[in-house]
């Protein structure tokens, strides 16, 4: 009996050597150690032996079983590791040669950032409007209090179509359209393409995106603008950023401010990105100029408001490692797939 067990063990061990996968190893295990396996069968047969014999055979079977089990575990682990490596390798290859049914698309980074900002303002109860990219001089300049001799009107800065129409150079056109067509209170945003006569380079593009927000009501104050800017900056760039408002000038707002946020690269300590100031400019804003309200038929003695305008590309850059906006119009699918 003892010989039979040793023979069975040796057969089992040699069976293992010839196997090449974890699945085949499992078959070996079932053959010898499974419920109806050969070694298991001997143990089941035990009742046919004398008590002393039982003890002796039992000990031999168990030690053989233990040896076979250990060997099986060893082989199994080895094959499983190999198989895992192989699978990983195959998956890696899958990425460069897209598999037929596991393809995932991507929104454009511009859309992703637009959506983020839109959602922030929707939470604050703002409505969203869209409007034409081809607009009248009136909406792009006159009603925004941009005087006839303002440099922005020069042909090198703005694209003209004819003597009435142009390609809007700012989404502020939508402020005017909304103010003319609805009564306060107004809480609106609008986003889209704008056009300016800049050649394409690392930081300029003749076509880019803006997002505009406007609030008009009784009692809207500078503190409301500051609070909104603070909420926007923290929602977009993280709760640890602070904002700084610096006086600036835009014809359609007064007071006007440039808004800086803490430099993300140095956390405000000063570095080359922020020219050692610790601040990075992200948008322009201000209290709506009473002249603009009057231009739109809103009584500036009763109502006040604020407006802000953000360059979307600038935010995309701020939220990523990219420092060249040309990458955003290159449309390299592999790059676009990296934003999610």
């Amino acid at each position: 009996m003892k010989d039979k067990i040793v023979e069975m063990l040796n057969k089992g061990l040699s069976d293992l050597v010839s196997k090449t996968s974890s699945r085949e190893i499992e078959e070996v295990r079932v053959k010898y150690l499974g419920k109806s396996g050969e070694l298991t069968a001997i143990l089941k047969d035990m009742k046919n032996y004398e008590p002393e014999q039982r003890k002796e055979i039992g000990a031999i079977v168990n030690s053989a079983r233990k040896e076979l089990e250990d060997k099986i575990a060893e082989y199994k682990a080895k094959f499983e590791q190999e198989e895992m490596d192989k699978k990983l390798k195959e998956d890696a290859i899958d990425v460069t040669m897209p598999a037929k049914n596991v393809r995932i698309g991507a929104l454009n980074p511009i859309t992703i950032v637009q959506n983020k900002i839109i959602n922030i303002f929707k939470d604050l109860g703002f409505d969203i409007y869209d409007g034409p990219e081809i607009d009248f001089y009136e909406y792009n300049f006159d009603k925004l209090n941009i005087p006839a001799d303002h440099p922005a009107r020069e042909s090198q800065d703005t694209f003209y179509i004819d003597d009435k129409r142009l390609l809007r150079s700012q989404t502020s056109t939508m402020q005017i359209r909304v103010m003319e067509n609805s009564k306060p209170p107004i809480k609106m945003i609008s986003t889209g393409k704008v056009y300016r006569g800049d050649e394409l380079d690392a930081s300029h593009s003749p076509i880019f995106y803006q997002l505009e927000a406007l609030v008009i009501d009784k009692n809207v104050t500078l503190a409301d603008l500051k609070g909104t800017l603070d909420y926007l900056a923290k929602s977009l760039f993280g709760s640890d950023v602070s904002i700084r408002m610096r006086p600036s000038f835009f014809p359609f707002t007064e007071p006007s401010v440039e808004v800086d946020i803490t430099c993300s690269k140095c956390k405000g300590k000063g570095c080359p990105t922020c020219k050692n100031s610790g601040w990075v400019e992200i948008l322009g804003a201000g209290m709506v100029n009473p002249k603009v309200l009057d231009n739109c038929g809103i009584d500036s003695k009763v109502y006040s408001g604020f407006a802000l305008g953000i360059g979307i590309e600038r935010v995309v850059l701020g939220l990523s490692e990219i420092s060249d906006i040309r990458i955003l119009v290159e449309n390299d699918v592999r790059t676009l797939n990296q934003y999610k």
């Binding site: 076509i207 500051k226 408002m245």
Partner: protein, 584 residues
């Protein structure tokens, strides 16, 4: 604009303020400082020294051993230069100096003898003759005036200055000058402002006997002329040269330098004509005639038309108004008498001419930003003050002028409550008064509630309550404004934008199906007509840009397929295959 702190100190004392601190305060008040340039950079360890003794190096023929006194210590320095002599005053770079040319100076031994520094050439200090006469000689720079030993060399060279590059916002053209910024800085730092001296001595001759001014165009608002006789053309004093140099203007001669000095200091462009080249004692400001030609100071001939403005006498053009003087009317070293022009030309006119001719100057750049008529008089009087005090000629009595507009302070009234409500800050009437008065705005508060102000004529940007609120808050500080989140605004009825909602839905569906969203230019050329074989294409329906950047951005595209094909081509070239792309 470039602001020399040394120059600024004439009007407001900032000697004890660190330039970085000043820059930050200016930025917070609306005058962003782009950069801070230390003119003395690299000269911190370079001092005036005297060569007490010169001896030959015992072990090296080419070296001399100099015993040098730099005032606070005596040092031994070896030099190979041959132009040094005992008693010479020279710039001495001591151990640790990190020179402008990039050389680091360390005490070292040469052929057994110690050298504790280096004698400097102009080249090593990166200066030329315009900074110090004799800086360009081959060898050590020998100082030709007497200086106290140990004086920092930057002081000798007039480079003990710091220059701020300030962005002046387009609504504040009155601040494109040292004086304009000085006024703002005096308010920001709450310090006293010293106004420039405008006094001068006049001769018995009457200006009106010499010249007449006649404006015959609506592109000139004000023209003032003054005549200086017995002119002395020479070099400018050192401080004028150094200040102009610090802000990037090269010294020419005393008269040209004075016009540039006034331009930078007061913000008023000035021009000087040789009086004896003006025919019939008359200066006319008029529109140019079609095809009228003028030879400008730069020796180029320009053809003008009626959209250009010129300064002319009875026969010829003397200058292209606000842009450049004529070659035949300018002063030179032989000039005996001159006419100073101090005028206000409208910015649109100067800009149009400058663009059309492709010709710009410091003067045209300033006019394009806007020069208030009130500055004409200050600028002219400042120039005459410099002529008079420096003894460059005799100034005729009176100023000849023609002024077509009213130059008066503007009176405005507001309810203080409306201002503080808009700004949402608690600010006392005293503080408001203090801020505005320092900005040269006269204040009178009625019944503790009505703010009556008188705005100087140069502050064209102040017209309504928001403008005055901005003046207050930018000085008071935006950092003192609280943050509230539209607490007081009413509930707005919500408008659903179905179009945008649906576009967003569609985009997300496409992404779920594996598509990547593109962002391509909406402007294009007409190549796609051919590429896509569009037989029913109607060119009339395409919207064209009248002033495109280039042919590829000339038309509003009517077709997305063309853009997508370009993207496919780009991606194929970059090894991206099996594309699923979309754009809406």
């Amino acid at each position: 604009m470039k602001l020399s702190l040394k120059w600024l100190n004439d009007f407001v004392d900032v000697k004890d303020v660190k330039p970085e601190e000043l820059a930050e305060k200016m930025t917070n008040a609306g005058f962003e400082v782009e950069s801070i340039e230390y003119k003395s950079k690299g000269m911190e360890r370079v001092f005036v020294g005297e060569i007490l003794k010169l001896e030959k190096h015992p072990n090296a023929d080419r070296l001399q051993v100099c015993s040098i006194d730099v005032g606070f210590e005596k040092v031994q320095i070896l030099t190979a230069a041959t132009n040094v002599f005992e008693g010479a005053l020279i710039p001495v770079a001591l151990d640790g100096a990190d020179l402008p040319c990039g050389v680091l100076i360390k005490t070292s031994k040469m052929r057994g003898l110690e050298s504790q520094g280096m004698l400097c050439s102009g080249q090593e200090l990166k200066i030329d003759n315009s900074v110090y006469d004799g800086a360009e000689i081959d060898g050590i720079m020998i100082l030709h005036e007497d200086y106290k030993l140990g004086t920092p060399i930057a002081e000798v060279l007039g480079l003990d200055d710091v220059v701020l590059d300030v962005t002046v916002l387009s609504n504040r053209p009155d601040c494109n000058s040292v004086l304009g910024l000085a006024r703002e800085i005096s308010v920001i730092l709450n310090r006293e402002l010293t106004l420039p001296a405008l006094d001068y001595v006049e001769s018995d001759r009457k200006c009106e006997d010499y010249i007449d001014v006649d404006i015959n165009t609506d592109r000139c608002l004000r023209y003032m002329a003054s005549v200086v006789t017995d002119l002395k053309i020479c070099e400018s004093p050192k401080y004028i040269k150094q200040r102009l140099n610090a802000v990037g203007i090269r010294s020419i001669n005393n008269i040209v330098d004075i016009t540039n000095y006034v331009l930078m200091e007061i913000g008023q462009p000035m021009h000087s004509f040789d009086y004896d080249k003006i025919d019939d004692k008359v200066i006319e400001i008029r529109n140019a005639k079609n095809n009228e030609k003028v030879l400008a100071l730069n020796m180029e001939e320009y053809e003008l038309d009626t959209k250009d403005t010129v300064i002319a006498d009875s026969h010829k053009i003397l200058a292209i108004a606000g842009v450049m003087g004529g070659f035949n009317s300018g002063i030179n070293s032989m000039s005996k008498n001159l006419v100073f022009e101090s005028a206000t030309f409208v910015k649109g006119g100067v800009r149009a001419t400058s663009r059309k001719l492709g010709l710009s100057s410091d003067s045209s750049n300033r006019y394009e930003k806007g020069v208030e008529p009130a500055f004409c008089e200050i600028g002219l009087k400042r120039a005459l003050h410099l002529i008079s005090s420096l003894g460059y000629g005799n100034i005729c009595k009176g100023i000849v002028e023609e002024t077509l507009i009213d130059i008066k302070p503007k009176r405005l009234s507001f309810d203080i409550k409306d201002i503080t409500k808009l700004l949402a800050v608690e600010i006392s009437n005293e503080e408001i008064t203090n801020i505005l008065e320092r900005l040269d705005i006269k204040v009178n508060i009625e019944n503790d509630s009505i703010l009556n102000i008188e705005v100087p004529a140069v502050r064209n940007d102040i017209a309504n309550i928001s403008d005055i609120a901005e003046e207050i808050i930018r000085i008071y500080g935006f950092d003192k404004v609280q943050s509230t989140l539209l607490n007081t605004t009413s509930y707005c009825k919500r408008n659903k934008n179905l179009k945008l909602d649906n576009i967003s839905l569609l985009k997300n569906k496409l992404v779920d199906c594996g598509f990547v969203e593109l962002n391509t230019f909406t402007l294009s050329n007409l190549d796609y007509v051919k590429k896509l074989n569009l037989s029913n294409f109607n060119r009339e329906e395409v919207i064209a840009i009248s002033n495109p950047l280039n042919e590829d951005l000339k038309y509003m595209r009517t077709n997305l397929a063309d853009s997508l094909l370009n993207v496919i081509q780009y991606n194929e070239r970059h090894g991206n295959k099996n594309l699923q792309i979309f754009e809406i």
